[in-house]
């Protein structure tokens, strides 16, 4: 089967967009995380906020901060007691008028960079930040390599093509030669057999 280079570029871009979409999915708490959010939503009916801004800020924070116990769940998702404590703490801080970045800083000084889903770039998190870009660049180079190889491959063969027909000259002459051979042998046989009869 012939792999079309453009198709590969398409696959590459499609998988890239898919991963970006999935990353956003996690952030926005849609399908995958719908159920836990419902629970939080119910619990938060009891949470009173001064204004809509504070409410939004609270929800953004519990989505962006990570539970130290149930690692890979954010505070909104996690059922761990510590997540509950941290949600309460964030609620209090929001009510006391802390800004988002202040709350994040507050959590970070206690639980470390780990609580942030988007930690600051440092020697420890460099791989986390750089790897996706590095992989994209690597992927582009691989695709370029494949494209280049395919082209030179086609060029090498192209020397032997006279036109659009995939017909090799040598093959052609060989066929003609062998056909003539067969022709000759058949005639000889016919002749010899007729000579025998005589």
């Amino acid at each position: 089967m012939k792999k079309h280079p453009l198709l590969m570029v398409f696959y590459f871009l499609a998988s890239f967009f898919a991963s970006v979409c999935m990353a956003n999915e996690g952030k926005n708490l849609s399908l995958l995380t719908a159920e836990p959010l419902v629970n939080v939503e119910i619990a938060s009916e009891l949470l009173k906020f001064e204004n809509e801004l504070e409410r939004k800020m609270y929800y953004q924070l519990i989505q962006d901060l990570r539970c130290p116990k149930c690692q890979n769940q954010n505070l909104a998702d996690s059922d761990a007691p510590i997540a509950n404590d941290l949600r309460n703490e964030i609620y209090q801080l929001v009510k006391e008028g802390y800004t988002s970045s202040e709350v994040e800083k507050y959590m970070e000084t206690r639980y470390g960079q780990f609580v942030r889903y988007a930690p600051a770039v440092s020697s420890a998190t460099a791989v986390l930040w750089m790897l996706p870009a590095a992989l994209i660049i690597l992927g582009l180079f691989i695709i370029l390599g494949i494209l280049k190889r395919n082209r030179s491959f086609a060029n090498d063969f192209g020397k032997d093509f006279d036109d659009g027909f995939h017909d090799d000259k040598n093959q052609h002459t060989f066929d003609r030669k062998s056909a003539e051979d067969v022709d000759r042998r058949v005639t000889e046989l016919l002749h010899s057999s007729s000579e025998d009869q005589q």
Binding site: K69, E108, R110, Y111, G112
Partner: protein
């Protein structure tokens, strides 16, 4: 042609390489040398956060962080609902017998239950801070029990161990800190 044949084995080689990596990691996890879920404390090199808590034994006695200063010590986070803490308790008793200073942080627990536990299993602690709301726990970055903070004589956190403290951890992690016990 031969070259292409050999190329076919590359995925197999990668597979074996991965098997080897996972096997070694697994081994290190079994021995407790490597724990992927362990978080380094954000407070290493910092003083214990300020607090004002009553003791477990007497709810009229209030302690602050100045009461932890003066000697290298362990601050052990525990609770009666914590099964691993029970496992750990015997070793804490041993350390206390050897003259090591151990403070307790009774974390989100019931005062009566906790006192009963100490009567039954022995009390290795100089005193216990009673943190029923987990306030100091939160400032310390506690995310479960047991956890043990190693403090130097100035009350600076030098190391935090998550999980059961035992002889192995004591020798490999705590003693190398070179504190004067």
């Amino acid at each position: 042609m031969m070259h292409d044949r050999i190329k076919l084995f590359i995925p197999l080689l990668i597979f074996f390489l991965l098997v080897a990596v996972f096997f070694l990691l697994q081994n290190r996890m079994v021995t407790g040398e490597y724990d992927p879920s362990e978080l380094p404390s954000a407070l290493i090199g910092k003083k214990v956060p300020e607090f004002s808590l009553t003791t477990l034994g007497d709810d009229t006695v209030v302690k602050t962080r100045d009461d932890l200063v003066g000697k290298a010590a362990l601050l052990n986070v525990w609770a009666t609902w914590c099964i691993s803490c029970r496992v750990e308790h015997a070793y804490l008793n041993q350390l206390a017998e050897r003259g090591i200073t151990v403070y307790g942080l009774n974390y989100k627990d019931d005062r009566l239950e906790a006192n009963r536990w100490l009567e039954r299993l022995g009390n290795p602690y100089q005193f216990n801070l009673f943190d029923s709301e987990g306030i100091l726990g939160l400032h310390l970055g506690v995310y479960g029990a047991p956890e043990t903070y190693v403090l130097d004589r100035k009350g600076v956190i030098r190391y935090r161990h998550v999980g059961v403290l035992n002889q192995n951890i004591w020798e490999s992690k705590v003693l190398p800190l070179g504190l004067n016990w």
